[in-house]
């Protein structure tokens, strides 16, 4: 079960969170009754924000070394029908760095947006990457997440359907091509319903 999934902007400046969903919990603080629910919510938001900032910084570095301008980068996603080539990255978050336990982040980014999953250390890195690719493919198909990022936060029910199908309760599943087709149809039907 991944801790969280998030989408944030990656153009220069402060990264903006476009969407996130948290599946896990972060250690003792969640269980302590001395901390109010509101404080926990604030901590949770701040943590996700920190993850997005780290992803943003990793992406800026990639952009700098590839010597690409933001405009060129954005052009890569202007075509609605084909997915651009993504920058892919992985980094570890040590215990106490952002979360109370050790976790790691897998991210993919292109154009305006980066997509990340925050994984427990027991998670399969290769699987996390391929599921993330699937999520992007279907989020682009159903909410145009790469080309119209502002729509994503508003059409959250569609985002919810895609996530719930391909990342049910935050679980990374091994999906062969036929099962992907089966789930794809389920998503179509649920969105149409």
């Amino acid at each position: 079960m991944v801790y969280a999934f998030l989408i944030n902007t990656i153009v220069p400046g402060t990264p903006r969170l476009i969407y996130y969903d948290i599946y896990g919990q972060d250690g003792v603080a969640d269980e302590s009754r001395d901390i109010t629910g509101d404080v926990l919510k604030s901590i949770r938001k701040a943590q996700i924000q920190l993850v997005s900032e780290r992803v943003h910084s990793e992406y800026q570095f990639r952009r700098a070394i590839s010597g690409r301008s933001v405009e060129e980068d954005v052009l890569r996603v202007s075509n609605d029908d084909t997915l651009p080539e993504f920058e892919v990255g992985f980094f570890r978050l040590g215990m106490g760095e952002i979360f109370n336990r050790e976790r790691y982040v897998v991210w993919l980014g292109a154009g305006y947006t980066a997509f990340s999953v925050v994984c427990e250390i027991s998670e399969n890195r290769l699987l996390a990457e391929s599921v993330l690719r699937l999520l992007i493919r279907y989020l682009q198909e159903h909410v145009r997440v790469l080309t119209q990022p502002s729509e994503t936060g508003l059409r959250s029910e569609r985002v919810g359907v895609v996530l719930n199908t391909f990342l049910p309760s935050g679980n990374l599943l091994f999906l062969n091509h036929r099962l992907i087709r089966q789930l794809e149809k389920e998503v179509d039907n649920q969105i149409k319903a």
Binding site: R16, G24, Q25, V88, S130, S150, S156, E157, A193
Partner: protein, 782 residues
Amino acid sequence: MALQAVDNLLQKARKASDEDIEKLCNNILETFDVPEKSAECTNLLRQLFFILQSSEHPTGISKKLLANLITSVGSMSEKNTKHCLLCQRIVKEVMPLEAEDVSELLQPEAGSSGTKNLIPLYIAQGKRFGCIKPVLSSAIRWLSSQSYDFESQRQGFVFLVAVSILHSSSLNTDYIQTTSEQISQWLLNASVQQAPNPYTINPFRKDQTNVVNEVDGTPSQNFFTLLNIGQYYTEDQLMNIYSFSMLYKWLYHCHQHQTSTDDQIPVYSKVFGNLSSKTVDYCFRVLDQCERKVKVGSDSDLQTACLYEAVCILDLICTIDGGHIPRVHQEIKRLYSRIYQDTTYFPVIIQILQFFLNHSGAVVHDPQETYNNVFTDILMNSYGDQGLMFDLICFIRKNLETLCYKTSVLSTFFPNIFKILAWHPRTFLGEFIDILPALMTPSTSLEIFHTLLDLPCMTAALEVKEKSPDSLSNTSVSTSTNTPTTSIDAYQMALYRPLFIFITRIEGGHGDTINRLKSLHSVLDDLKKSARVLVTSQTVPVLLRVWFEEILENGGQEFAIQLLPVLLERSDLLYPITEFVKDVKRIISENLVKIMKKYKSIITSQYGEISDFLISTSNIVNRENFYTNLVWCVGEFCSVQHSELCTADLIAKYYGLLEAVTYETSGILVASNNSSDITPKTLSCLISALAKLATRCQDLIPRAILCLTKVAKQHIDNTEDPEGGEILVTRCQELINILKLPNFASMILNPSQEIETGRWHRDNTCLPIILRSTHRYLVTDG
């Protein structure tokens, strides 16, 4: 522009006041469950969710709405998934709920079909005001009886695995046993028939019941796994896929919990029951299926991911129950020999290495060949693959102790390992801070010091290699001796190629550094502004600090003696990136003092090295801090107090040396019209050191007073730098006055070591009191 829209929306959402939200909640309540207003309701729910998710402060919603939303989540079905998921997301956003709301709205009802749909909410609520316990018992019931529907079983399993990850202490042995038994069932007993197409209803057509296929298209003749291809999948097949996908996590977290709480010898292998052996069977079948050639391209990625997972699971199973090692080890060895050269499987090979590291001892197998493969070929060819390097760094961190004490991998291959940082400096600095001390041994530390200082060059050289056309990088190099215009040209010249080969070498131990470092720096000059090189150069100061800390902690005097000439040399032999050079010089200068403070006798024993350096005033240029720090150390530590070998003769030699330098720098300062590289600070430091040395060999005092007087005279009417001149004159005068009272001078300029232990103001013989009385003397005399 698309992003402007994002900003506008976010700002609007953040401006929403509590009243706005309340109004929105009321509007939702009015439309909720009114069929003809469902579109409007969805729209409002979207807005509410967006506001909640973008607000910077936690926001609440009305209890009535919360109750409605939770009811809606509980009633989720195929027809209203979209709506219910949106409700679920809104509730999750305001979670965790407070005690009262939990007891009223979120209590699991035994036997209620809604409970299963609330599982994501129970997980989000966690242990706060507890719904874990009651839900756990429901989940176990759903799992252990076949009479429950697929969705209940699926949700129950998801819940149990989530609890194992997040709250493993809530799982007792019974829960683990029951769940494990059920996982075994799902793994090995799924049907092998394909499911019928659920989207066509044709009562006249007989449903074909075909068996599922293998990835290569042949019909399956063995039990079902996730690598079997069918047109559609049945529910039990889906549970099979869920089981394999979550198996490692289940075993890992339960095992972690068991081993951290049980003091007894491994009874924990029993709690998983026959799950261990069933798991081995399943994984073996998966290994087998991964040898088949896929019919659809995308499945080959799946095969790699499955192999990776299967090896991790088998590794864990062998840790849980050593009885499986012989059989599994043989199979993993076979797998290794099949894939060890195949780039696609490199990530799997690192997991295989982990397996060998853990279990080869039990079957007398030496995995050295695998170590070599990973730390030479794989690392050398794939350092650019961040995912793979992530795996490798995690492997090193996880096994740091074993690698450090039981193998020579780290001390042999550290130059290759540094490539990971040199190529991904933004990403892996934290990890290198952790592993650096383990790379350092008495025989590697100096070479690592050079490697760190030249890390930006390593990055630059790797960039050159990347950019050079493939055809040129391996074939003949030109024998031209012209000065190359670019680093890529230089790389293709026989004269420079060895420098590139050295800086990107794989193994350590072939000499700490090279003589022609300067020419390497100069041919790489065109890359000093490259983004990657710059970021690498920013990591060096951080790691240098770690390096020096380790040396100060464990280096020993012998090592410090070897280090001294290296510091003298490298303090001005650095790849010319302005900030980098500044930082590194500062760190080296600071640490020179720390090392000399710890091993004070070095000043005495290494007179030759130190005097050769100090005598030449050209060494002050570009590294004044380093030079003055060394002068300070001589003044401070050249004393019998710190080394029995320190003789009056040696003090006199150091004195003579510093006196000569003092005259020279003083002259340069006066003549330089304020434009020299030397500042009054150096001179001030030199005269202080002279005075200190003179107090330890009182014959020198008249000579020191003479020298100080001359310096003062030279600077008394320094019109170019009146401020500096004045400071120097005052300083000379002070020292002369102190030296005129030799007994006091010795106390003041050689304070006892207690100065460091803090007796300053508590003792009658402490320095402030002596100074005060000296002052009084001088004032009344004067």
